[in-house]
Subunit: 146 residues, 2 copies
DNA sequence: ATATCTGCAAACCGTTTGCGGTGTA
DNA sequence: TACACCGCAAACGGTTTGCAGATAT
């Protein structure tokens, strides 16, 4: 397999980082990290649980939640609550981006606009605030061209 | 009292609009509309319930939720879930705006940027999507100047 | 008169937690 | 060995819902 260290955090990267922090790499955690490594989508806890169970049916939902919280506190994943729905998780790999959510499929598309980013900064500044974090989500449907 | 029809939807405006839609204006609903008329903040269901009870202690939390859903479906209020927390409601009065949430106080400051708005449109367009709605929230703390 | 609405309490759903046992370091 | 971790089931907090009685039109 080609190395891809440039893309940042792969599952095994996390393993070393977590190990270095004195966190035990258990079987459930290894499985969950493996699932998150796909990075193809933004699964919720239930979906992660489902996928994990296909690998090891003894995994519990509680462990999924505990592991997600662990990884979140560790800064390895971000938690989103799109449109007030259940949490969905995303592996953090350095580059900040915002999200466009396909209302028909639930699919999440990432995008980034440096201009918007700067405008946000500017607005907060004018209001006398320092931004800690922000959240920009576009909800839409695929344009149907004839 | 001075009239302020220019500001748009006052509680009594809603009463007529709701009545016109065949919805009964009951005592609980009148009270909740009155509370929402303040528009001073973005209260959650529990807070609306607390305020309503000070006026009529027999009001139930279930009715608050039912009324908020009714008003939401009616397009009279928007529901927000800032940072995944419980729903907070806001009376809709025509002008669209986004939110800056004070992380220390929970206070919500409204702002609007036509430029950001246009950029969002443009981004969605490039991705082949039509935006149905969007959500821009800045979370920050008051800048402490010496 | 009657369909809508209410309060109450129970159900619900996503998430967290206390427990006693298990497995990693 | 020792402590972090697990699965289980119960608890949790916010929200919704079924019911039988009350109320606006």
């Amino acid at each position: 397999m080609a190395e891809n260290s440039a893309t940042g955090a792969r599952p095994d990267d996390f393993e070393s980082r977590l190990r270095a922090a004195g966190i035990r790499i258990t079987r459930p955690r290894k499985i969950i990290l493996e699932i998150l490594g796909d990075k193809a989508d933004h699964p919720g806890a239930a979906e992660i649980y489902r996928r994990a169970q296909r690998i090891d049916p003894s995994i519990s939902l509680a462990t999924v939640y505990r592991t997600m919280k662990l990884l979140e506190d560790f800064g390895a994943v971000h938690r989103h609550a799109f449109d007030g729905g259940p949490s969905r998780f995303e592996v953090v790999d350095g580059d900040h981006h915002d999200h466009l959510i396909d209302l028909d499929t639930g699919k999440v598309i990432e995008f980034h606009s440096e201009t918007i980013e700067r405008l946000q900064e500017q607005i907060a500044d004018e209001l006398g605030y320092d931004i800690e974090h922000h959240r920009l989500e576009l909800y839409g449907r695929k344009r149907r061209e004839r």
